[in-house]
């Protein structure tokens, strides 16, 4: 395998780049990805709160990154993702998602994730999802 910087993972995904995502940490089935608040991503103009879909995109990307960092992973795709929105993210604040691939079977990876703004003790959303788990061929 070639040496890549972790941010190359994000730069290879046009939509992750469009949302300005940054890969903060990755490894052993865990990932942390963050993005800035941006007026273009607002869902409700009355409040300036970012759209749930943008938080969802962050959680999905972070979940996928966590699966890909699990030992033996080759590629992955989201099967399903449920997001619970606990509170509105504070306008103007950076949003950070942390995902953990907590169980893997032969073909499926189970992931949970949380997202918070600049108040890390008070999550804005949590997510659970199932992802496909395509393994590297071991016998080569």
């Amino acid at each position: 395998m070639t040496e890549n910087s972790p941010q190359d993972f994000i730069n290879a995904l046009p939509f992750a780049r469009a949302l300005g995502m940054r890969l903060d940490q990755i490894g052993a089935g865990r990932a942390e990805i963050s993005m800035d608040w941006d007026a273009r991503f607002v869902g409700d103009p009355a409040t300036g709160v970012i759209h749930g879909g943008a938080v969802s995109a962050l959680m999905d990307t972070c979940g996928g990154a966590a699966v890909l960092s699990y030992p033996g992973a080759l590629s992955t795709a989201t099967i399903d993702l449920r997001i619970d929105y606990m509170r509105a993210a504070t306008p103007g604040q950076r949003i950070t998602a942390r995902a953990e691939c907590y169980h893997v079977t032969r073909r499926v990876a189970f992931v949970r994730a949380t997202a918070h703004d600049e108040d890390p003790d008070n999550p804005v959303a949590t997510a659970t999802g199932a992802f496909t788990f395509d393994r590297l061929e071991t016998a080569t």
């Binding site: 290879a12 995904l13 046009p14 939509f15 992750a16 780049r17 469009a18 949302l19 007026a39 273009r40 991503f41 607002v42 869902g43 409700d44 103009p45 009355a46 970012i50 759209h51 749930g52 879909g53 943008a54 969802s56 995109a57 962050l58 959680m59 999905d60 990307t61 996928g64 795709a77 989201t78 099967i79 399903d80 993702l81 449920r82 997001i83 619970d84 929105y85 509105a88």
Partner: protein, 167 residues
């Protein structure tokens, strides 16, 4: 006897109200989502754009784009259903809406099923409000690309309804 409102006037009034509602959501504009209307039925359209790609190797639309498209469709459909009768009776006009934007429902939870890869072409979605009470609503959304019968994603979400002024 009062004569019925001319058809062009009816269309213009409904289309202006819809444009005001959708135009107020910056993220819908960022993704390029448009809405087509037949009577009160809405179809959301997501025209393909290179920035929507998540997997450049396949290539496939990003799962987050699909989730966003479905959630935008659900919220607009729910808001539209909530505003429709007031628009028809004249209690609400496109002008008064633009002056004082309607409060939008808030997502409580949203579950997306990714059924097939999102291909690099236009996508369509329709939402159905399965239950809408004074406080809570449940909405189902279906999305497809080339064939209406072959869904590439579906979602169910629960929403907190805005408190109405006459509440």
């Amino acid at each position: 006897m009062k004569s019925p409102e001319p058809v062009q006037q009816v269309k213009h009034r409904r289309d202006s109200a819809l444009a005001t509602l959708v135009g107020a959501v910056p993220y819908a504009g960022f993704l390029g989502i448009q809405f087509e209307r037949h009577g009160d039925e809405l179809t959301a359209v997501l025209p393909y754009d290179d920035k929507l790609i998540g997997n450049p190797v396949l290539p496939a639309i990003h799962g987050g784009v699909i989730a966003s498209f479905l959630e935008v469709t659900a919220i607009i459909e729910l808001s539209w259903a909530m505003l429709w009768s007031d628009l028809e009776t004249g209690r609400l006009t496109p002008e008064s809406m633009a002056q004082d934007l309607p409060r939008l429902p808030k997502t409580i939870d949203f579950t997306v099923d990714y059924l097939r890869t999102g291909l690099p072409r236009d996508a369509y979605a329709r939402a159905r409000v399965n239950r809408s009470g004074r406080r809570y609503a449940s909405v189902h959304v279906e999305a497809w690309q080339d064939n209406r019968a072959r869904l590439f994603a579906q979602a169910t979400g629960h929403f907190l309804m805005p408190q109405r002024a006459d509440g």
